[in-house]
Amino acid sequence: MPGITGEFRQIVEAHQSRVYSIAYRVLGDRGTAEEVAQDVFLELYRAWDSIASDEHLVAWLRRVAVHRATDALRRRPRTLHGAARFEDWMSESPREEESLPLASEIERLLLALPTAQRVVVLLRYQEDLLPAEIAEMLQMPLATVKSHLQRALKLMRARAEDTLKEYTRHG
């Protein structure tokens, strides 16, 4: 039905960057991230009539994108995980990446985190969710979410001392 399709296209346009970013930053792999993002929207299409509101839609997309991306990560052979693969991709990245050096550096640091920490950091700083909201979304105790955040920031800080200095506001 053209009405539903037209409306759905607008939904995809409005939320594609969020869904793709979550997938890409969990997986570190552009190709798989796009596949996962597409799957999320196809699943949304099937579940369309269960979406009750705009708020519900955003929460639904976040949750499904995270789960699909982490599922895809688990299914991948271990040797393809992690910073090595991401850096391989980065060496052949298109020109648009060169205009976002900070983003790439942050993503590089993010990819070196364990999956659970990476997801929590993404939800906190990309999606701007509070720890309690993250806990509810991931069905995880609040203390665990806070511990993941703490650990992740510590790790990222330790790894980034040199590389991020040029981006900081204070010497």
């Binding site: 990560l73 995980h81 992690g82 910073a83 985190l113 999956t115």
Partner: protein, 185 residues
């Protein structure tokens, strides 16, 4: 030798089957927890004795991490973790550290690692409990200027197995590779 991961070295030297003590006496000084809590801006404390480990083990799923966790806890009698973050350096004193370290001066505990910094605020201690030639526990004290972390694991443990749980594709490998790349050549 310097490229061997520490945890693998400790694991290969000391890993053994253990009869396993049923009751783990936690070697944290009784009142120190509360004192550190009062000074900390943030703290996390987790205490799981054998009963709790067994109960929790029943609810582990077939998820990769859970399967790994189940294998590890089968040999354990307790896991106790204390992490304290402070706003300022100097919130724990040499006296506090002595109270902790004095718990391990008995014959059953052997100091495996003793790393000291000039200021005393980057120190690391690892102790192993050996009874009748078998490993029955490990204690780690890890200090930073604004952080004090303690981990006590009662039972037979291969540290290299445990360290896998920090990430499903290995912060340890990343860290080791990163460090070797920077400092090893």
């Amino acid at each position: 030798m310097r490229n061997l991961p520490l945890v693998a070295t400790i694991g290969s030297c000391l890993f053994a089957l253990s009869a396993g003590a049923q009751n783990a006496t936690v070697p944290f000084p009784a009142t120190l927890d509360k004192e550190l809590e009062a000074r900390a801006s943030k703290y996390t404390e987790v205490s799981m004795d054998k009963k709790m480990l067994t109960f929790a083990g029943k609810f582990l799923s077939k998820d990769e991490d859970d399967v790994e966790a189940k294998r590890i806890i089968e040999k354990l009698d307790g896991v106790y973790v204390r992490e304290y973050d402070f706003d300022q350096p100097g919130q724990y004193t040499a006296a506090d550290l002595e109270r902790i370290r004095s718990q391990f001066k008995g014959s059953e505990w052997s100091p495996m690692v003793r790393e000291r910094s000039k200021t005393g605020q980057g120190d690391t201690d690892i102790y192993m409990k050996i009874v009748d030639g078998k490993m029955q526990g490990m204690f780690v004290l890890d200090l930073e200027s604004k952080e004090l972390d303690m981990v006590y694991i009662a039972g037979a443990l291969d540290p290299s197995e445990l360290s896998k749980l920090d990430g499903n594709f290995g912060i340890p490998k990343g860290v080791a590779a990163h460090t070797a790349k920077d400092g090893g050549k």
